[in-house]
Symmetry: C2
Subunit: 400 residues, 2 copies
């Protein structure tokens, strides 16, 4: 079996952990698998490098920043390779460019265009363990690029897709994907498997296990993903194309606190007003999530939507500046989005109603509602968000 494994920065933070990861790799290899491993920068390395840079120049170019940050993974791969050499294993480390990871030229947030797997394939043919620097690649100018947040996961999935690997294992500091945050609900259950779409909804809703980018890529190329713990040896959660979608209705409950609600009040009801509002925000790279448009009074209407908290003030200022015809622009940054996710939802129309009932029973007021085929989200006051998660988990999942 050809396996791609990815270990995050905390899994290789010091010598002891590097040796531990090496042991994991050795076990997989000695069980007869071919093995490609991607690894992130050790612990706080990336933050330390950023601090070093800021001391010298508060706003360095992204090209030079990528040149700097890519050293973090290069250090990790060589140390991990040395650990495996120490166990008598045959291993070669490769930087992003040596591994043939070609990206576009958006320094700092580069996207993988293709992987020229020739060198990796020939090393695997020679029974070598191949360690590849995650998070980085090379662009058409032969410059080093980095992939941005969640980049190492993306590297792993892209390698698995290009090499037609049988399995892509993402080792993290959690044991898998849970029905909800175990810190909120102690009876949260670990899921044995989950579909790509469910995982996408869970990730975007704040379950920070896998970045959406890597899940999207896995879905596109049908890569079997497994999320599992680098510390405990227990089975993780498989992310794959789940066929039997009607079995379970709600698979998980999530909460996102990084959300603010903005309302444009009494704006004249002209054609194209929504287009004008949201294209204005898009131009400033402000992502909008939930949107509702009220029917309004007379010839006016209200438009409400949510953004990330960091974007709130800028969005409010923009709207005030450009929509002076509106009576007012107000915002509330003390809200949370709580969602239930499950691929079976679309064929179970009572789910949303059950959710609202749970909120009602818990005396929680709902500001906004959003639905998709596999999730229902409600926007509520942040102070009640944990209570809401617990109530919903209790109602739908019923614990372990």
């Amino acid at each position: 079996m050809l396996v791609v494994q990815k270990y995050g920065g905390s899994s290789v933070a010091n010598a002891e952990r590097v040796l531990n990861v090496a042991k994991r790799i050795a076990e997989t290899y000695e069980a007869g698998n071919s093995l490609v491993v991607t690894v992130s920068a050790q612990g706080d390395t990336t933050d330390d490098l950023i601090a070093k840079a800021k001391e010298i120049n508060p706003s360095p170019s992204k090209r030079e920043m990528d040149m700097l940050l890519s050293t973090g993974e290069q250090i990790s791969i060589s140390l991990l390779a040395m650990a495996l050499e120490g166990m008598g294993l045959s291993v070669v480390s490769l930087t992003g460019w040596q591994a043939g990871i070609q990206t576009d030229s958006k320094y700092g947030v580069a996207k993988i265009k293709q992987i020229n797997t020739e060198r990796i394939a020939s090393l695997l043919d020679k029974n070598k363990i191949v360690i590849v620097a995650g998070f980085q690649g090379i662009n058409k100018y032969d410059d080093i690029t980095t992939l941005g947040r969640g980049g190492s996961d993306t590297s792993a999935v892209a390698l698995a897709a290009s090499l037609h690997a049988d399995l892509c294992q993402i080792y993290t500091d959690v044991e898998g994907v849970y029905t909800t945050d175990p810190r909120i609900c102690p009876d949260a259950k670990k899921l044995k498997d989950i579909s790509y779409d469910e995982m996408l909804e869970l990730a975007s809703l704040g379950a920070n296990v896998l970045m959406n980018r890597s899940v999207e890529l896995a879905k596109k190329y049908s890569v079997n993903l497994e999320v599992l713990s680098s510390l405990k040896k227990v089975p993780g959660t498989l992310v794959k194309e789940v066929r039997n979608m009607e079995k379970a209705v709600v698979r998980g409950v999530t909460r996102d606190n990084d959300v603010a609600m903005i309302s444009l009040l009494d704006v004249p009801d002209e054609p194209g007003i929504a287009f004008k509002v949201f294209s204005l925000l898009a131009k400033k790279n402000i992502n909008v999530d939930m949107i509702i448009q009220s029917i309004g009074r007379e010839n006016n209407k209200d438009i409400s939507f949510t953004v990330k908290i960091d974007n709130c003030q800028e969005a409010v200022d923009l709207l005030k500046e450009n929509f002076s015809a509106a009576r007012d622009v107000v915002y509330n940054d003390k809200v949370s989005k709580v969602s239930i996710v499950g691929a079976g939802m679309v064929s179970n129309p009572g789910v949303a109603a059950t959710m609202f009932e749970a909120m009602y029973n818990a005396h929680i007021n709902i500001h906004m509602i959003g639905t998709s085929e596999i999730k229902v989200s409600v926007l509520i006051d942040r102070e009640y968000s944990e209570k809401a998660v617990a109530s919903l988990h209790d109602k739908f999942i019923l614990g372990k």
Copy 2:
């Protein structure tokens, strides 16, 4: 004018020094020069990386060690580029492989085979300052290699040679090349210029300003070298083809404490004995420096030679094992080699005699004598070495 500058690790050890170096570079650039800069790893970075590696594997492969160590220079070049960006200058940093520095495959001690200067030349054409990682290159397998000790100096000289630069400036923590160690003789003088050969002798004799390797390369390609201080703005020492060689006789006095004398006593006087002794040592990579062979008694003779202190015990053991016919093998590791260097020496036959006279006047016993066209060396007890340097400096150079 096209200038190649090299800054050592201590010159870029922290943010303040990086900014300081950037200022230096900016001045050279703004004076109308084209500029390529090579830089070493910051301060103790290389040692820290080696320590990290040893914690994981006491004897890692050299390939992975090069993968690891090359990050040190990559960090330096990006930080230095950021500092220059902060001053509004147009700059690009390049790793060894991006700069086209092709080496052989001897990881850890690689030699530069050639530099493909296309990318650097095109950047210079666009008036960009080019910062190149010293100490590293790429081999024919697309693996990263490092050049070993003094590698950054070598990178700088090789770049200057390949680019046909007008000047190659090596910035160090000393102000230039002195007639002797100023810590021993406070009246040591800084030399305005020195020939390649004199510099080679001085370097090999312990004046640790430039590694021989880079001087040899400079000589081969007639690169004008300047050794100067990265801290003080004063002229340094030019290393170049000095025509008027008869002007000064003795240019410098040096001392080397890393030396031990070994004697093979009463070895049978057969043909090829010297060959046998020194080929045996060469096979074990033990470098021999001064050699004398005495006439000896009867059919026996004595062979004495010097090695580096680290090699002394191994050499003695080897000789005892392989030359049982010798009466004994003895050594003395409390000696120093003191030398006078000057290209004019060859045409001034009295120089050696004057040297021995100075030793006699200072009551210093001479164990061994070695001569070349531009130097005379004596091996003496280490306890008298400073006294010897001072006497010779006084005799030949006569201070400032």
